[in-house]
């Protein structure tokens, strides 16, 4: 392993060698049946900030983890500074000067910042020797980059933004020349994100190479030198940022020109069906995630909630769905208070819920398809009498839904895990919509779902609206929100910061989502 810090000379923009910092040749990776990276080729030039964009599940994290030695590619070659390097583990990657900030932080929560930074680079068998050196080095990094954190604070006591700093410090402490950041801004406030970008620019100007993964095209345009686009496991294009446009990138990312406009007429809103009043929700650590939020959803309308991931939308949905107990506030369904009802009772009252994460919540992947088609409704008298389940009735019902929603393969006895993502989502959607609920709350309805299925699901959602149901939609895809919603609420830092109509420009909404304008 390299000594834990080598101070690099200041090399403003100058190229040391002509080789790219990283070159990937024919990288291929499968997880079982999922082909996450298909024959990827990529060059990242030294001293640049290289953006990588792509939809959820496109394979970005997988590719970066391969470079960092966290996963091993099934095929292909990685060249660092022109030389092929067999990266079998992260140790090799670290030794080659690669540092990575993972999408999900890799920190030991009950350790101090200092311990986390030192982990793996302790500088000797005994801790005592390394500690003072590490303290000094942290101090230096703090002054050089303005990355200040208390070295003796416990990670679990730090806010996420600071935790991310620790991750960056970890990489810098190991004197990484190539820094990979996987969706770093998803958890940052705009101010924090701006600060991060300043740091990245300083790093680049020192000759380091940065790879930045993000969903946000604005960020790509603002900071990167080059940008590569991934779609469904493939690397579809690389562009100089200066020579491309947001529109082109969007098209490359989703593989078609403009997003489908959902055919729908004007909404005919009726009486208020779902009403949220002064709702506050806290997470397990007691941090306020939803802050005094109030709004109504009427019959016959779709209310969309826009916002950057992590601004409280998930918690809001879960609170309404009875999965999370609100700290305070009221939720009314058709005038009835439901803030403390459990999900089973909410279903009985006519509130259906398409959860954000089908694998984690919406489905039991080891169940057969028909068993999932009644999840949550299994106590309904239609599916059995007394204590017993009526499997025949359930299967007949499942077959009906399979036909109606064109779920493939049309086999109710197939294990749910063996359906593709899009078809799995259809199973969930069919179950929740076909119950004919009064109100439906929907999280990320089309995450990781193909275009055909997106269209189908969107159409069903609009049909529900036209049938006079109240729908609440949460999605991090602004386009989806804009094309489906009749009204849009924007959430930022747990608060609803404003309401717009779908005609509001992307710009306006984007600014609101960033907490800049209301």
């Amino acid at each position: 392993m390299r000594p834990y810090h080598v101070r690099l000379p200041e090399r403003k923009g100058q190229r040391v060698s002509q080789h790219p910092a990283i070159e990937l040749v024919g990288i291929d990776k499968s997880f079982g049946a999922v082909h996450a990276n298909k024959n990827i080729n990529l060059k990242v030039e030294k001293g640049t900030i290289h953006g990588i964009i792509g939809e959820n599940g496109a394979g970005k994290s997988t590719l970066m983890s391969i470079i960092y030695g966290f996963y091993q590619a099934d095929r292909g070659e990685i060249r660092i500074d022109g030389k092929p390097l067999d990266i079998r583990d992260s140790q090799t990657a670290i030794a080659a000067g690669i540092g990575m900030v993972h999408q999900h932080f890799m920190l030991v929560e009950n350790f101090t910042v200092l311990e986390n930074v030192m982990l793996g680079a302790e500088g000797g068998q005994l801790l005592a020797k390394g500690v003072s050196g590490a303290r000094k080095e942290l101090k230096r990094l703090e002054t050089d980059y303005g990355l200040d954190v208390d070295p003796d604070a416990l990670i679990e006591d730090l806010p996420v933004g600071k935790q991310q700093r620790v991750e960056i410090l970890k990489a810098l402490y190991r004197s990484a020349d190539i820094l990979i950041l996987d969706e770093p801004t998803g958890v940052l406030t705009p101010a924090e994100a701006d600060h991060l970008f300043k740091v990245l620019k300083v790093l680049r100007d020192q000759g380091k190479t940065v790879i930045l993964i993000t969903h946000k095209l604005r960020e790509i345009m603002a900071i990167t030198d080059e940008v590569s686009v991934m779609r469904r496991g493939e690397m579809v294009a690389t562009r100089k940022t200066a020579e491309t446009t947001v529109e082109e990138l969007a098209e490359l990312m989703v593989g078609r020109r403009v997003l489908l406009r959902v055919e729908k007429g004007a909404a005919k809103p009726g009486k208020v069906l779902l009403s949220v009043k002064n709702l506050t929700v806290k997470d397990a650590r007691g941090v306020t995630m939803v802050d005094n939020v109030s709004f109504d959803v009427r019959e016959g309308e779709i209310v969309g909630i826009a916002g950057v991931a992590g601004n409280g939308q998930s918690e809001l949905l879960e609170a309404i769905a009875g999965i999370r107990k609100p700290a305070s506030g009221e939720i009314l369904l058709d005038g009835q208070p439901i803030a403390n009802a459990d999900p089973a009772r909410l279903r009985a009252l006519g509130l259906a819920h398409i959860p954000e994460d089908r694998h984690h919540m919406g489905l039991v992947l080891k169940f057969e398809e028909y068993e999932n088609s009644v999840l949550g409704y299994h106590r309904d008298p239609r599916y059995g009498r007394g204590a017993l389940l009526d499997l025949k009735a359930i299967q007949a019902d499942a077959v009906e839904k399979i036909e109606k929603y064109d779920i493939r393969p049309p086999n109710p006895r197939l294990k749910t895990a063996n359906f593709s993502g899009g078809n799995q989502q259809k199973i969930v959607v069919a179950r929740e919509i076909e119950r004919d609920p009064k109100a439906l709350i929907i999280g990320q309805p089309t995450r990781g779902v193909d275009i055909g299925a997106i269209e189908f699901i969107h159409r069903r959602i609009v049909e529900m609206r036209d049938a006079g149901k109240a729908l609440l939609l949460v999605s991090v895809e602004l386009d989806e929100i804009r094309s489906l919603s009749d009204r849009i609420l924007v959430m930022f830092a747990g608060k609803v910061v404003g309401e717009k109509t779908p005609d509001a420009g992307e710009q306006t909404l984007g600014l609101m989502m960033a907490g800049i304008a209301a």
Partner: protein
């Protein structure tokens, strides 16, 4: 008998009875801090007791006996590691399985080799760790208060007893003052952090279970060639589980582990002392109450009524990157 003499006698007994718990609980501390649950402590202790007695009997050397116990105990640890680290099997199931294998194999082999119903022959002399008399015992004997304590509690134990108490600060030092300890604690909380720091999770956890095997070797040897003078079937008699209870009771911290083991040893010693004696006003207290007390205390602790015990976060979960 003077009250103070009773106290001294019970304390001496407490020490002797808590040593196997202490070694074993420290062993558990290492694996569980590394995120590998180990119900198999009981089996390792038993297997080590058997191996120690066999080797000591054959070679006539207690130290070789200890070595034999350590070797077998580490072998069991490696099987546990192979199942739960390499093959990502269920750690509890693996531990339970090893307890059975140890309980059965010791008797099967013991019977086959010695034909004494699973017992090893009695061992004596050099083959056994005998009590050591510390210097100044005679001079101290008549010193009031401290004297009896020194003579009957501090002196007169075998070498393994002193090693057990030495193991406590060493464990603390290793866990909190060395690189190995830092990494070990980290891997029990978030193996991903260790992995991405360029450290092999597998090898680290293997080292943790090997250390546990090493320590269980001592507890086994203590049972068969220090505390008694032969292996007897099932001689661990649930001590592995009590050690586990002590570990939980001590919230996975070395010094509290020592006190928890002393407490449980004391309960045992006190039960022995109280046996057949009547408590004024209550009458004879059933020994079963003392026998059950460590378990009851542990349940109360687990229920969070006296401070919640948080096990290492990644404990019990095999580390997988690819789903």
């Amino acid at each position: 008998m003077e009250f103070y003499d009773i106290v001294v006698s019970i304390l001496g007994s407490t020490i002797r009875l808590s040593i196997p718990l202490l070694f074993t609980a420290l062993a558990g501390l290492f694996t569980e801090r590394a995120g590998v649950f180990d119900i198999g402590l009981e089996g390792k202790m038993l297997a080590a007791a058997f191996a120690s007695a066999c080797v000591a009997y054959v070679t006539g050397n207690a130290w070789l006996g200890l070595l034999g116990g350590i070797g077998v105990s580490i072998l069991f640890s490696l099987i546990h590691g192979f199942a739960s680290i390499t093959n990502r099997g269920n750690q509890i199931v693996s531990g339970v399985a090893l307890n059975f294998v140890a309980a059965g194999l010791t008797v099967v082999l013991g019977q086959a080799w010695f034909g004494q119903g699973g017992r090893t022959p009695q061992i004596s002399g050099e083959a056994r760790f005998s009590p050591i008399t510390l210097p100044f015992v005679d001079a101290m004997r008549d010193v009031p208060f401290i004297g009896p304590l020194y003579v009957h509690v501090i002196s007169g134990n075998n070498i393994l007893t002193y090693l057990a108490f030495l193991a406590v600060p060493i464990t603390w030092w290793v866990l909190f003052r060395t690189r190995f300890g830092l990494r070990l604690r980290a891997v029990g909380e978030n193996p991903g952090a260790v992995d991405t720091a360029g450290i092999s999770v597998t090898w680290l956890r293997y080292r943790a279970v090997i250390v546990a095997g090493f320590l269980c070797g001592f507890s086994g040897a203590y049972l068969s060639i220090a505390q008694s003078a032969a292996f007897i079937k099932d001689m661990s008699a649930g001590k592995g589980y009590i050690a586990l209870a002590a570990l939980i009771f001590a919230k996975w911290k070395p010094v509290p582990v020592m006190f928890a083991c002393l407490l449980f040893g004391f309960l045992d010693a006190f039960a022995n002392f109280m046996q057949g004696k009547a408590v004024p006003g209550i009458g004879e207290v059933p020994v079963q109450i003392f026998q059950a007390l460590p378990y009851i205390l542990t349940c109360i602790l687990l229920a969070g009524f006296i401070g919640v015990a948080h096990p290492p976060k990644a404990g019990g979960v095999p580390y997988t990157k690819e789903r």
